[in-house]
C-alpha cells in the first residue's frame, strides 16, 4: 500500500436495508463503503480501482443481472476488483461456479460480521498486491518502451546472460556497436547489470525471456 490511501469496498445488493447495514459495518473499520442497488447501477458507476485497494461484495441472487453475470462482465473488462459473493441458503452450486470463475470467497447468509470483515480485508490485501503488481508491470513496460527495437533485442539477449561478443555474433554486428547499445540500454532502463535487466523484462512480460 502506498501512502495513506483508504480501501474502497463496493457492495452490490438489491436488499436496501441489509446493504445499508453492511456499509455501516464496513465504515466501522474505517474503510470507504459504497452501495449499489443493482448490477446495472454498479456498471453504470464504473468506479476506478482505488489506490488504497478495495473489493466488490456481490449478492449472487439479484433480479435481471445476477451476481454471476456481473462477475463475468467485469472479468471480461479486466476489472481488478476481487469479488466476494454473498449467497442464500441452498445456493452452494452457484457459489462453486463463482469460485471457479475466480471469486475470492463466498459467504453464506447469515454470516458473522468478523468472518465478513476478515474476508473483505483479505480481498483488499489481495487487491493491493494485484495493484502493486500491475503498477510494476506497467512501469517496466513503460521503461522498455523507451528502447529502440535494436536496443530491445540487445537487452533481451543480455538479460539471457549472453556476453557482448556472443550478442555481436548473433546479431551480426560489431562488438563495438553492441557495447554502445549496452550503454544506452543501461542508461535508459537505469539498470546496472544483466540480472537487473532480466528482472525488468520479466516484470513487463513474464514470457519475455522465452
Amino acid at each position: 500500500m502506498t501512502g495513506n490511501e483508504v480501501p474502497v469496498i463496493h457492495v452490490v445488493d438489491d436488499e436496501a436495508p441489509f446493504r445499508r447495514s453492511l456499509l455501516f459495518l464496513l465504515e466501522s473499520m474505517g474503510w470507504t463503503a459504497v452501495g449499489h442497488e443493482s448490477a446495472e447501477a454498479f456498471l453504470l458507476a464504473a468506479p476506478s480501482f482505488p489506490a488504497g485497494g478495495g473489493c466488490l461484495v456481490l449478492d449472487i441472487r439479484m433480479p435481471r443481472i445476477s451476481g454471476l453475470e456481473l462477475q463475468r462482465r467485469l472479468q471480461a473488462g479486466g476489472s481488478p476488483f476481487p469479488i466476494i459473493f454473498m449467497t442464500g441458503h441452498g445456493d452452494v452450486e452457484l457459489a462453486v461456479q463463482a469460485m471457479k470463475a475466480g471469486a475470492i470467497d463466498f459467504l453464506q447468509k447469515p454470516f458473522k460480521d468478523q468472518l465478513f470483515l476478515d474476508t473483505v480485508e483479505r480481498a483488499v490485501h489481495i487487491s493491493c498486491e494485484r495493484y502493486l503488481e500491475t503498477c510494476r508491470h506497467q512501469e517496466a513496460q513503460q521503461v522498455l518502451e523507451r528502447l529502440s527495437v535494436r536496443e530491445r533485442e540487445v537487452a533481451r539477449l543480455l538479460a539471457q546472460g549472453l556476453a557482448n561478443k556472443e550478442v555481436a555474433r548473433l546479431l551480426r554486428i560489431s562488438d563495438n556497436t553492441v557495447h554502445v547499445h549496452r550503454q544506452h540500454v543501461m542508461e535508459k532502463t537505469g539498470t546496472g547489470s544483466a540480472a537487473e535487466l532480466a528482472r525488468l523484462i520479466l516484470r513487463a512480460d513474464p514470457g519475455g525471456l522465452d
Partner: protein
C-alpha cells in the same frame, strides 16, 4: 183343497162329453155343462173369512157380543162363511204370524202394536152409540166408592191402591197410566200401588166395591152400561176427575180412536174391500156401536211413545245389558271398528314416531356431516396454507434472515466503533433507527405468516379488493427474494371495489395464483412481470393473474381444480382446488385458460361486489 175337489169333477164331465154327440140331449148337456160346473165349483169353494176378535171381557162375553156381527157379515158376503176366532192379546199376534186370520178386531192399543209387529192395516173403526167421531171413542174412567171423598183427582191416588185388569189393557189401564204420569204419578215407581185383576173387567169393580182397592180403572161407558143393566146400583161408584169430552159417558181421560177392524197383511184387497163395504152397511148393534171409516191412530202411537210400550218398548230398554243384547252385533261391529281404528291410529302414530325419529336422526347425521365437512374444509385450507408456506419456506427463511442479519450488523458495527472510540452520535442514531426499522419488518413478516398459518373460523369483512391485491403482492414480494415484478392493472372505480370476504382466504387465493405464476415463469426464465388485472364484470369484481410461462398442456387443463392433482414434484396439489373452494364459498367463480396472446396462462376469479352507500347501483337490493 178346493182345486183338488174341482179337478175331481172333471172325469164326470169328460165321461158326459164322450157320450153320443149328436143327440139333442147331449147338445143340451153340452151347453149346460159350464154353468153346472161353475155352480158346483161355487158351492164347493165357499170360503171362510176368519176374523180374530180380542176377547177383552172373556170368551163367553165375546161370543155373545160379536155373534150377531158374524151373522150380519155373512149375509152381506155371499158365498163366504164368516168365522169369528176369539183370542187374547198374545194369541191374536201368534195367529196373525201363522196366517190363520184374514181380519182382526181389536182395541186401538193392540191394533197399533199389531200394525207394527205384523203389518195389518185398518179398514174401519168402531164408533159407539152417541159418539160422532171414530177418532175419539175409547177412554177410561177411574172409579171409587161413593164414600171415598178423599179421592177427587188423579193426584189423590198417590200411595193408594189402584185396580186394573191387565198392564196390556188399553182402555183398561194404559190410557189411565198415561194420565197418572201426566199428573206426576208413576205407578212403575210405586207412587200408586197397582193391582191387576185380569179379565173380565167386572173383577175391577168387585175389588173396588169390596175395598180391596181404593180405586179402579174401567173402560169408558162400562160403568154406565152396568148401571143400565142393573148389575151395579147407580151411584155406588163414582168417576174421579171427570173430563168434559164428546163422550156420552163419564171419563177420566182423553178419548182415543175406537176399536179397529184390520185386514191381515196377506188378505186380498178385493176381500178387504168387500168386508169393508159389508161393515159400513151394518146397522148399529145392540150396544149402539157401528163401523165407520178408519180413524187416525196417531194419538195411540203418541200415548205408547209416552209410556214407552208397544212399538216403543225399546225406548225403555235403557239398561246397558238390554241395549247390548239388542244391539250386540252392531256393538261388536262398532267395537271391532273402534279397535281396528285404534289399532290403525296406534300403528300410524308408531310409524309417524319412527319416521320422525329416523328423520331427526338423518338430520342430526347431516348436521354432523356438514360440521365434519366444514371442519375438513378448514383443515384442508389450513393444510394448503401450510403447504404454500412450505413451498416458500426457503425464500421465506432468507427473507426473515435479511432483517435479522441487518440488525446484527448494526449492533456489531456499533460495538466496533465504540471499541475504536469512533462512535459518533449521528452513526449511533442511524444504526438505532435502522435496527428498530428492521426488527419491525421482521415482526411484520412473522405476524403475516402466523396469521396466515393459524387455524381460524370463517369471517366476512367488507374489504377493498384493490387493497387486498396490493397487500398480497406485497406479501409475495416479501416472501420471495428476487421474486417477479407484479404489475397491477386496476380498472375498478372507487365505488365498486368493495367485497364482503374473509381477507386472509382471498389473500391465500391471490398468493396461490401469484406463486403459480411465478413458478410457471421460473421454468422458462422469463423476466416479464406477472400481470394482475382487476375489472368490473356485471355485478362482480374479476381478478385475473396472467403469467408468461409455457402455458398448460391440454391434458393438464381438465384437472386444474382437482384436489391432489399437481404438476410440481414437491406440490401437494391442493392449491387450486382449495382456491376454487374458497372462491365458491364466497359466491364467486374461478377458472383458468391459456393467455391470449400466448404463451402463458390466465387464472381468474370473480367475487360479488358490494354496492356501497355512495354507489348509485341499481342492483342494490
Amino acid at each position: 183343497m178346493s182345486l183338488v175337489r174341482l179337478s175331481g169333477e172333471f172325469p164326470d164331465a169328460a165321461l158326459l162329453e164322450s157320450g153320443p154327440m149328436n143327440s139333442p140331449v147331449a147338445r143340451f148337456f153340452r151347453r149346460l155343462l159350464p154353468l153346472l160346473l161353475l155352480f158346483t165349483a161355487a158351492v164347493q169353494a165357499q170360503e171362510s173369512v176368519r176374523i180374530g176378535v180380542l176377547a177383552w171381557q172373556g170368551l163367553e162375553e165375546a161370543e155373545v157380543h160379536w155373534s150377531s156381527l158374524a151373522g150380519q157379515l155373512e149375509k152381506r158376503l155371499p158365498g163366504k162363511r164368516v168365522e169369528l176366532i176369539h183370542t187374547d192379546l198374545a194369541g191374536m199376534a201368534a195367529a196373525l204370524r201363522a196366517r190363520e186370520l184374514d181380519f182382526v178386531m181389536t182395541n186401538p192399543g193392540h191394533y197399533v202394536m199389531l200394525e207394527a209387529e205384523t203389518g195389518i192395516s185398518r179398514i174401519a173403526t168402531q164408533v159407539g152409540s152417541g159418539f160422532a167421531d171414530p177418532a175419539h171413542v175409547v177412554g177410561s174412567a177411574v172409579v171409587v166408592r161413593r164414600e171415598r171423598s178423599d179421592i177427587a183427582s188423579l193426584e189423590d191416588l198417590r200411595g193408594k191402591r189402584l185396580a186394573a185388569v191387565s198392564p196390556d189393557a188399553f182402555g183398561g189401564y194404559q190410557v189411565i197410566w198415561a194420565e197418572l204420569r201426566r199428573a206426576g204419578l208413576d205407578p212403575e215407581r210405586g207412587q200408586v200401588a197397582l193391582q191387576f185383576t185380569d179379565f173380565p173387567m167386572a173383577r175391577v169393580i168387585d175389588a173396588v166395591r169390596k175395598g180391596e182397592a181404593d180405586a179402579g180403572v174401567l173402560r169408558a161407558c162400562l160403568l154406565e152400561h152396568l148401571e143400565r143393566e142393573g148389575v151395579l146400583p147407580p151411584g155406588e161408584l163414582q168417576v174421579v176427575a171427570v173430563r168434559s169430552t164428546s163422550s156420552p159417558c163419564r171419563v177420566s181421560s182423553p178419548l182415543y180412536p175406537g176399536w179397529a177392524f184390520a185386514a191381515a197383511a196377506g188378505t186380498p184387497p178385493a176381500l178387504a174391500r168387500d168386508v169393508l163395504l159389508a161393515l159400513l152397511s151394518l146397522a148399529p148393534d145392540a150396544t149402539g156401536s157401528s163401523w165407520s171409516v178408519p180413524a187416525d191412530y196417531h194419538a195411540v202411537y203418541a200415548l205408547f211413545r209416552e209410556l214407552q210400550i208397544g212399538p216403543y218398548a225399546v225406548l225403555r230398554e235403557t239398561a246397558w245389558s238390554s241395549l247390548a243384547r239388542r244391539y250386540w252385533p252392531w256393538l261388536a261391529g262398532l267395537l271391532c271398528l273402534l279397535l281396528a281404528g285404534g289399532a290403525y291410529t296406534l300403528h300410524v302414530e308408531h310409524l309417524v314416531q319412527r319416521r320422525t325419529r329416523e328423520l331427526s336422526r338423518a338430520l342430526d347425521e347431516r348436521h354432523r356431516l356438514e360440521a365434519t365437512l366444514q371442519a375438513g374444509q378448514q383443515q384442508m385450507e389450513h393444510l394448503s396454507r401450510l403447504s404454500i408456506l412450505g413451498e416458500l419456506a426457503g425464500t421465506l427463511a432468507h427473507e426473515l434472515n435479511q432483517p435479522l442479519a441487518a440488525i446484527g450488523n448494526y449492533a456489531r458495527s456499533l460495538l466496533r466503533r465504540q471499541q475504536r472510540d469512533q462512535l459518533s452520535a449521528s452513526a449511533l442514531q442511524q444504526a438505532a433507527e435502522e435496527i428498530a426499522g428492521e426488527s419491525e419488518r421482521a415482526a411484520g413478516i412473522l405476524a403475516g405468516i402466523r396469521a396466515f398459518a393459524r387455524k381460524r373460523a370463517r369471517v366476512r369483512e367488507v374489504c377493498d379488493m384493490t387493497e387486498l391485491v396490493r397487500e398480497a403482492a406485497g406479501l409475495m414480494r416479501g416472501m420471495t427474494a428476487g421474486g417477479p415484478k407484479i404489475e397491477l392493472v386496476d380498472t375498478l372505480p372507487e365505488q365498486q371495489r368493495h367485497v364482503c370476504v374473509d381477507p386472509l382466504q382471498i389473500q391465500q387465493v391471490l398468493l396461490n395464483l401469484f406463486k403459480n405464476a411465478w413458478d410457471a415463469q421460473q421454468g422458462v426464465h422469463v423476466e416479464a412481470p406477472i400481470e394482475v388485472t382487476l375489472q368490473v364484470v356485471d355485478t362482480t369484481c374479476r381478478i385475473a393473474v396472467r403469467d408468461h410461462g409455457v402455458g398448460l398442456a391440454p391434458e393438464v387443463d381438465a384437472h386444474l381444480f382437482e384436489a391432489f392433482f399437481t404438476t410440481k414434484p414437491e406440490g401437494l396439489g391442493l392449491g387450486l382446488s382449495i382456491c376454487k373452494t374458497i372462491v365458491e364459498a364466497h359466491a364467486g367463480e374461478m377458472g383458468g385458460q391459456p393467455a391470449v396472446p400466448g404463451p402463458g396462462t390466465v387464472f381468474w376469479f370473480s367475487l360479488p361486489l358490494l354496492a356501497t352507500s355512495g354507489a348509485v347501483s341499481g342492483e342494490e337490493k
